[in-house]
Symmetry: C2
Subunit: 330 residues, 2 copies
């Protein structure tokens, strides 16, 4: 592939002039610039990214480490990140940690080695990824989940409050034995939603005992948990489900048991999705501002990369309940 010196030779100038011309410096004679551009074009010249990055000691790349590309919540985040990054001339590398701390560590290593400009991290587990990055002067912004040990810029949803609100909503609709299906212990969003559920129970003056199950945040794993919950001697008459994928399993389980959401069992699930209005009755959800979370986090990160050293911030966006038929009075 053509190099800058080949372009220089062809245009009859020095490599310095080629560099200046191609980077649009104004201190270059228009005639020369024209010759350079023509030569570069004829040779199909593309500046060598690694060489440029090495010399400039910086790369216009952000890494986004999430736990599941197949989760619409995270893809919406990635949209927000990408739109903002792209406008600022940055590329985004999407990394799947699968909620596995080892995989996360691996990606952090790659980010460090490749000298990415910054990292957006939805932390898996209680690792020290953020510290490691910061120890090497790589700005980090946590997204969706707070950083386990340290502080640092963070973009969250007030998921506990939203869970409380959803729980209260179910109580107001007349449900009395409220259950909760949430994610793995230790995952903050899972624990917060559970805490919010308990807040709601308390506020409503209900005491269901422990009608709680945990699962991974995926449909397959949630199936068993849903069945187990519904097989209680005194099964719940309503369920708060901590994400969309698990909601599929809950609804499937109800269907198998011949129970109807919004009549036999109230259901509210986290994350809105196009299909939620297609089922009968439509699914009540807690809608999270995923796109905005991504956009906000990216903006924050770009600020840090740009040298913003003001105090770290925690941005908490709010989710909102979208009541539909599945949580109507039972």
């Amino acid at each position: 592939m053509a190099t800058i010196s080949e372009v220089a030779e062809r245009a009859g100038v020095s490599t310095a002039t080629v560099s200046r011309a191609l980077n649009g410096k104004d201190s270059v004679d228009p005639a020369l610039a024209g010759r350079v551009l023509a030569a570069a074009d004829e040779l199909g010249y593309r500046p060598n990214g690694p060489a440029r990055n090495l010399r400039k000691q910086e790369t216009a790349v952000l890494a986004l480490i999430i736990s599941d590309v197949e989760n619409p919540f995270f893809t919406a985040i990635s949209r927000g990140v990408e739109d903002v990054a792209h406008d600022a001339g940055y590329s985004v590398v999407l990394c799947n940690s699968d909620d596995d701390p080892d995989k996360e560590r691996e990606y952090v290593e790659v980010a460090l080695q490749e000298r990415v400009a910054g990292v957006l991290l939805s932390p898996a587990g209680r690792g020290d990824s953020a510290e490691k990055l910061r120890a090497h002067d790589t700005p980090v912004v946590a997204i969706d989940r707070p950083l386990p040990r340290s502080g640092g810029d963070t973009v969250l949803v007030d998921t506990r409050l939203a869970a409380r609100e959803a729980t209260l909503h179910l109580a107001e609709q007349g449900y009395r034995r409220l259950g909760c299906l949430t994610g793995p212990e230790g995952v903050p969003t899972a624990d917060d939603r559970l805490a919010g559920y308990r807040d709601g129970l308390r506020a409503a003056g209900l005491d269901s005992g422990e009608l709680v199950r945990r699962s991974d945040f995926k449909a397959t794993g949630a199936a068993e948990a849903a069945h187990s919950l519904l097989a209680e001697r005194q099964p719940p008459d309503a369920i708060l489900v901590a994400n969309n994928a698990m909601a599929v399993s809950v609804l499937a389980a109800l269907d198998e048991l011949g129970m109807r959401p919004g009549r036999d069992v109230g259901v509210v699930a986290f994350d809105d999705a196009p299909w939620t209005v297609l089922i009968d009755p439509p699914l009540s959800v807690v809608a999270q501002p995923a796109y905005d979370m991504g956009a906000t986090a990216a903006q924050l990160l770009l600020g840090r990369i740009g040298g913003d050293h003001t105090e770290t911030t925690v941005t908490t966006l709010s989710a909102h309940l979208v009541p539909r038929g599945s949580s109507r009075s039972g």
Copy 2:
């Protein structure tokens, strides 16, 4: 950040020895290697990726250019790609073209500049991205859609055949006025599904006239198309929908009109999704082997990167019809 020479100094050896030790060359004294590793560890040394890439004239990075990260079909592909790439020590950069040829061109430029090892491309429009990449010796594998002008390694689904099969299925179920909602003209998967639909009509001896609408492959755009199709003087009694997102709009439209899938109107849509079994009746789908497509394409690409110069191949995987309630006899 620590450099190789600082490690060398600390370990009391030359940079060459550090490099060899860190890269596990066997021609290095175990004692020295130990000192080097210790020094590297103490300094928190991470090899500088750009420098290494520059020197080695290669990067262990693949670019995957797709049209929509929010489409589960493509995220499943990306899973397949990532799993294979990861096992081979490669990273994957996910790029969203939004089905916009300009954005695609932009990402191809970035891929070229960054000297990625290879590109997996689901081409948007009739551009010359693949030629451009190949002109610069960057291997390309097309995925989901053939390359517009040139040949080249390609991983496809026999989507036309699948569409034909789905159409025949609807005919067999007794539907007589079959409509089709497909994607934009020029997008091969959209055109192929339409062609397969016509194949099916012909094979079934049906002539619906033109009960065809096009939309982007997204839910919002498809809403209008769905309504327009159902507002025909002689509306279809069954619809083949070319993807999952558009199916949501079709089902919503039917619901608004008080029509029931599988009774008033038969429906088959491309792409399976967890929620398709939750609706009543469950949605009949054409399931595509998305994960396998990604894995296969990545394997092919890695082969080319590794110097495989055998003739280019076209791999055609097959989709299969999953008949459910929405296409039962009307």
